[in-house]
């Protein structure tokens, strides 16, 4: 092991010839080829920032192809991380630092960098051939095209290979560790703790100790390179953020969804059956849950999307908490079964991690264009409650709320996450398991016929919730038949009676409309804003950041965010009508706005973008400023 340079362990106290600058926030983007391990690199830097106590938000961005042709623009994979000494809301609009592992990564990302930004380039990949591949006629490192940035040329592959020379690893294998070299360099530059990454590498490659050590060596070599070369005059410190007291961890949206499902099982006391079919970006929920069978969780990778939800519904019929997880195309396939769950009034949790559409669309990019599909994407009058989390950590609470509704009202519930939430991560105040809601249910045990007979009538309802009883097979005396055909009110036999169908349709609607949900909270610091900006889902971060910026400029703006998309909070109409203007930014072409205009006759104004990426705070700031100026009569 090379200990000649400074011990290389990055412990505080190691000599620092460089000047240290304090920053309150930094945005770093790691960009490279799909095979360069950029997601892992970003993930590790995130963990280091979390362990250090910064607030953070991340934005992974990668192609749908597992290995797009090497060195090409479509093959570029990136991971953006925003960390700060205060609470931040977004992964950052523009990177302060771009780490470009090849010409394609440079070309694909350089336009996002503000003037004066830092570029750290792996020069080993800047061969004539690689430059030509992405359309660089002249090496951008050799002309003045990067003159407005601070560029650091680093031979990452060569240096990594040099550091691993003694390991006996082939040149190719050694070169593959260059992402850890980059991580080491950035960790040095930002005074990050390194123990976690070294421990992680040894655990990840526990079965290949030589690979583990090679990665650790590369990581330390990157650190030492920063420490010993004089290329980097400055390092940066971003002090820890002030969080509310408690225990924290870093969490992605998909992990939080999976933990929410585990918790829903524990809080309800029900066994869980997850029926799912692999689909980007939802598969990680299936992966995670399949590791927690000890919580009485059965995970079933079904033959298709339809079977996934079918198995979940079959399990729900038998008294389990049935769950299915998918993305938009999967919801399209599951629609008929969700309709059956509406008709048979069985609890069912349906999770849609939205991605770009229509059809296969943009599998790895984010969008929130499944709202109307969730709301109306079934035949007939088929109301389904809809819940949306607003951030990665919020997914946990959103699952528990969706489960509460499903179990209390015996209905399928759709939870709309999205790609940005699914793969993005943030610090999460770990809930106390003892404080989670009580979701226990009561199964029917006695006949309930309204005519006093000893029969079970499956469609007799609770007068308050309108929920029918959950009478599960195996319960003596309650044998009954349910299904997709219209049911006679109460008794539940097949009924083609016109009045009955009209009544049952209205009852199903009334049941969903009557679900009790918390009032929407409006953040209006001055109390007299004329402009309300309303969002749902993952736009919470950028909308919030934009509001802060606008307020910092002395403007007044109110912000509200919908967790419940169906039914809406009871105060929503009044809130909307109490502002002179309502702006609704959505990563679709105006789906929530359509619902609100139809429901409340409010002339809400949409701001829409479907670029597969989250809104930028700057962009929304501009939108809000324009509206404020209009309201205030300021000429454009």
């Amino acid at each position: 092991m090379d200990t000649s340079v400074n011990g290389g362990n990055g412990q505080p106290g190691s000599s620092r010839p460089t000047q240290v600058t304090k920053l309150d926030r930094v945005v770093i983007r790691f960009a490279g080829d799909s095979g360069d391990g950029m997601q892992l690199t970003g993930d590790r830097f995130t963990s280091e920032a979390a362990a250090f106590g910064n607030d953070l938000a991340t934005l992974p961005n990668f192609p749908a192809e597992i290995r797009a042709p090497a060195g090409t623009l479509p093959g570029v994979s990136s991971f953006q991380l925003h960390f700060a000494d205060y609470d931040i809301l977004t992964p950052g609009d523009r990177p302060d630092v771009l780490v470009a592992m090849n010409p394609a990564a440079l070309k694909a990302n350089i336009a996002d960098l503000p003037v004066g930004g830092t570029v750290i380039v792996n020069t080993d990949e800047f061969s004539k051939r690689n430059l030509t591949k992405v359309g660089y006629e002249v090496n951008p490192l050799e002309d003045d095209s990067l003159a407005s940035f601070q560029v650091f040329d680093v031979q990452m592959a060569t240096l990594t290979q040099g550091a691993l020379k003694e390991t006996g690893l082939s040149k190719k294998d050694a070169e593959r560790c260059k992402n850890m070299f980059a991580l080491g360099l950035l960790s040095w530059m930002y005074h990050r703790p390194t123990e976690g990454t070294e421990r992680f590498l040894r655990e990840k490659f526990a079965r290949k100790p030589d690979i583990a050590e090679a990665n650790v060596l590369a990581f330390r070599a990157g650190w030492n390179y920063g420490e010993t070369t004089e290329a980097f005059a400055t390092t940066y410190e971003v002090p820890p953020a002030a969080f509310p007291p408690g225990n924290y961890r870093q969490i992605t949206g998909n992990a939080a969804l999976a933990y929410g499902i585990v918790a829903a099982g524990q809080c309800s006391g029900l066994p869980i059956l997850l029926g799912s079919y692999p689909i980007t970006p939802a598969s990680d929920i299936l992966h995670e849950l399949s590791r927690h069978k000890n919580f009485n969780i059965t995970t079933m990778q079904a033959e298709d999307e339809i079977a996934g939800v079918g198995a979940a519904l079959g399990a729900a019929y038998g008294g389990s908490l049935g769950v299915t997880t998918t993305s938009g195309p999967g919801i399209a396939l599951k629609s008929e079964t969700i309709g059956l769950a509406v008709m048979s009034e069985l609890p069912l949790l349906v999770i849609d991690v939205q991605r770009g559409g229509p059809s296969t669309g943009l599998p790895t990019k984010t969008e929130q264009a499944d709202l109307l599909q969730a709301m109306y994407g079934r035949n007939g009058e088929s109301p389904v409650p809809i819940i949306a989390p607003q951030s990665p950590g919020d997914c946990f609470a959103a699952v528990l709320e969706a489960t509460r509704i499903a179990l209390t009202y015996r209905t399928p519930v759709l939870l709309l996450s999205d790609g940005a939430i699914a793969n993005g991560s943030e610090p999460w105040l770990i809930p106390n398991a003892d404080d989670l809601p009580d979701l226990r249910v009561t199964f029917a045990t006695e006949p309930n016929a309204l005519d006093g007979s000893d029969e079970h009538w499956p469609y007799v309802r609770d007068t308050e919730t309108l929920a029918r009883q959950w009478a599960i097979p195996g319960t003596a005396g309650l044998q009954h038949r349910i299904g997709g055909l219209e049911k006679a009110d109460g008794k539940g036999n097949i009924s083609y009676d016109p009045d009955n169908h009209d009544r049952m349709t209205r009852i199903r609607q009334a049941k969903v409309d009557g679900i009790t949900v918390d009032d929407m909270v409006v953040d209006d610091p001055s109390g007299d804003a004329r402009l309300l900006v309303l969002g749902w889902g993952s736009t919470f971060g950028p909308i919030g950041a934009a509001c802060r910026r606008v307020r910092a400029q002395g403007h007044k703006v109110a912000q509200a965010h919908l967790r419940h998309l169906n039914p809406f909070p009871a105060n929503l109409g009044d809130v909307l009508r109490s502002y002179d203007r309502v702006v609704i930014p959505e990563m679709n072409l105006g789906q929530l706005a359509l619902l609100l205009r139809g429901r409340f006759l409010v002339d809400a104004v949409s701001y829409n973008k479907v670029a597969g990426l989250p809104f930028k705070a700057e962009e929304l700031q501009h939108v809000l400023t324009t509206h404020l100026n209009e309201l205030e009569g300021v000429p454009a």
Binding site: G246, Y248, G275, T298, M300, A307, G339, S344, P473
Partner: protein, 350 residues
């Protein structure tokens, strides 16, 4: 990927399903719903046979569930005084799988038809069979779409003239049992709606089988495909066409016998082959090739139709193994939600 031998003990199909306290009668299994199939429909016979047969199993009624898809036969659950779900087209095996995996105390039956199981639901059928979920699947095959008023089905003969195929259907039909055995179903049988004795004995064996059991029932639709199976019921014809299987017995029928050929099985005049060349039926052969060869003796034009239990073999079931994985995990690690939420990288503020 590593394969794990779960080492499960062999079980009967009804192990774990609680028994009834007293004797039962057929009428105990009749619901109060008026049966609404067309007069003369073969479904009546199957329904009556089922209601008469179930008391012999001695199971608690509330632990029996019938799940169906869409089609005439899929109304079946409404007429049974058990638990039941009349679900959506083709999806009954998927829904039943979820129920069977989570509820080992239930005897789960799927009722389906040739359109429901082989056309819109073909995918779920083959996957249920390959997984070997402990389900009993009754496939009512009338070779026609009845509920939608008479279009050809995936088991209709080519050239069939129907409302949707006025100049004849172009589809090559499925041999449902070839399909099932291709999916390596562990229990495969066929019978006719008019052969109540055979139907009952097959239902009994299917119920006792642990794993997926596919029972194809040739069933007459008197409205849209009347007489489709009449040649199998006519005296003088039946003996020469029907090939009944009995485990351990030589396969002989009429004046004919089933013999081995270089590539499979064939039919020969019994008096022209020596007795040792006649195949002795063995439903327990693990290799599906033999049972598959048996299915190929049945022809679409009904010149020959093999009935009885083709295959009754043992393979671990998906649901037993899924529960075993959960049980093992529960035994190995006490669920601790707080520890899960904490994870391994936690920091404390304040």
């Amino acid at each position: 990927m590593t394969a794990v031998d779960l080492g499960l003990p062999s079980l009967g199909g009804l192990d774990g399903v609680p028994g009834a306290e007293g004797p039962q009668k057929a009428k105990d299994f009749k619901s109060d719903q008026e049966v609404r199939w067309c007069p003369g429909c073969g479904d009546y016979v199957v329904l009556n046979a089922m209601q008469s047969f179930l008391p012999s199993l001695g199971l608690r009624r509330e632990n029996i569930v019938f799940i169906s898809g869409i089609g005439c036969s899929s109304r079946f659950p409404y007429y049974m005084n058990t638990y039941g779900m009349h679900s959506i087209h083709g999806r009954a095996p998927a829904i039943a799988t979820g129920l069977a995996v989570t509820r080992p105390d239930l005897s789960v039956w799927v009722v389906t038809g040739d359109g429901d199981a082989l056309s819109i639901g073909g995918n779920h059928l083959i996957h249920a069979l390959r997984r070997n979920v402990n389900l009993k699947i009754l496939l009512f095959n009338n070779r026609i779409y009845g509920l939608t008023k008479g279009q050809y089905s995936p088991t209709s003969e080519p050239g069939k003239v129907t409302k949707s195929t006025p100049v004849g259907s172009l589809d090559h039909p499925f041999n449902p049992l070839s399909l099932a055995i291709g999916a390596e179903a562990t229990f495969v049988a066929r019978t006719l709606d008019n052969d109540r004795a055979q139907l009952t004995s097959i239902l009994t064996a299917a119920a006792q089988h642990r794993g997926s059991a596919l029972v194809e029932i040739y069933q007459n639709c008197p409205i849209f495909n009347d007489g489709a199976f009449d040649v199998l019921k006519e005296p003088g014809q039946a003996e020469q066409r029907l090939i009944p299987l009995e485990h351990g017995k030589p396969i002989v029928f009429g004046d004919q016998a089933v013999i081995r050929t270089a590539h499979g099985l064939d039919i020969a005049k019994a008096d022209q082959v020596s007795p040792e060349d006649v195949v002795v039926h063995d439903a327990t052969i693990d290799d599906p090739s033999y049972a598959f060869a048996l299915t190929r003796l049945s022809t679409q034009n009904l010149d020959h139709v093999v009935t009885g239990i083709y295959r009754d073999t043992t393979r671990p079931t998906y649901d037993d193994q899924a529960r075993q994985q959960v049980d093992t995990a529960v035994a190995a690690k006490t669920p601790n939600l707080q520890a899960l939420l904490n994870g391994s990288d936690t920091w404390t503020v304040g």
